[in-house]
């Protein structure tokens, strides 16, 4: 019984202690002073690189004849020339995408004019132009077709056993 009273008394004391030391916080309403912090950004460095296009000359020895004479075995009226285009540059250029164009600038055959050559041959860029990636070789195919026979013996003498030469320009735009 006495112990029971003692326990009750301790609980009361505990309640008093807890309630007596209750503490409340509240904001004093005034805003805290501003603080400052420093952010650091490191700027990298850059450089300009120069890329170049390198293409070699190509020769074909198919010995073409006009289309109407290809019935003879081993005789061709078409030649496909593959030009290997190497677009490259300094460190960091590999993988750069670009656009490759190939332009047929001029062509000669004996003393014939380009108009006379046009009447007999077609020279076209068949494939390989368009998208190109720096650092990789790309083949551009130029197709020559001997479509029409010479219109006269004079022209025939210029064409037969002759060499048709055409000049190309390869450009890359980034």
């Amino acid at each position: 019984m006495r112990q029971k009273k003692l326990v009750i008394g301790l609980l009361v004391m505990l309640a008093l202690v807890v309630s007596s030391f209750t503490y409340a916080y509240w904001n004093n309403i005034t805003a805290p002073a501003d603080d400052t912090a420093a952010g650091t950004v490191t700027i990298g460095e850059g450089d300009t690189i120069t890329t170049t296009v390198v293409v070699g000359n190509v020769s074909d020895t198919s010995a073409l004849v006009p289309t109407t004479y290809v019935a003879t075995p081993g005789v061709e009226d078409t030649a496909a020339l593959s030009f290997s285009v190497n677009w490259s540059g300094g460190s960091g250029s590999a993988g750069t995408p670009g656009t490759l164009t190939a332009t047929i600038d001029s062509y000669t055959l004996g003393t014939l004019t380009e108009t006379q050559i046009d009447d007999m041959f077609t020279i076209t860029v068949t494939s390989g132009t368009g998208a190109i990636v720096a650092g990789t070789l790309q083949n551009v195919i130029i197709t020559v077709v001997f479509t029409t026979e010479p219109g006269s013996e004079t022209i025939y003498n210029q064409v037969a056993l002759g060499t048709l030469t055409f000049n190309l320009t390869f450009s890359v735009t980034v």
Partner: protein, 102 residues
């Protein structure tokens, strides 16, 4: 509690993103100046010979054995210098040409 976790996640993601943007040092960038010098190349194709007959030409000089095409027929020269003799049967000059079948 959940709001606190969400806020913590958001703060972590933002820290990672900002860290990836701003904390990279020694970065190096290349750029092209926009012009690439073009290159030129030459292609060559050779031709062969073939047998081709041309129209008879009044101004041409022919050798024996030359073959011409005239008025829908082929003719072979039987005499040299038949430039002014038209390949025609039954008319003067016909003896300069004989019909020919290629």
């Amino acid at each position: 509690m959940k709001k606190g976790i969400k806020a913590l996640k958001f703060a972590t993601i933002m820290a990672l993103l900002l860290g990836s943007f701003f904390s990279v040092t020694d970065s190096f960038a290349y750029w092209n100046n926009g012009t690439v010098p073009p290159d030129t190349a030459t292609g060559t194709v050779t031709t062969s010979t073939w047998v081709q007959y041309f129209d008879w030409n009044v101004t041409a000089t022919y050798a024996v054995g030359d073959i011409v095409f005239h008025n829908g027929s082929y003719w072979i020269a039987t005499k040299a210098g038949t430039n002014s003799k038209e390949p025609t049967l039954g008319k003067p000059g016909s003896n300069w040409w004989s019909p020919y079948t290629p």
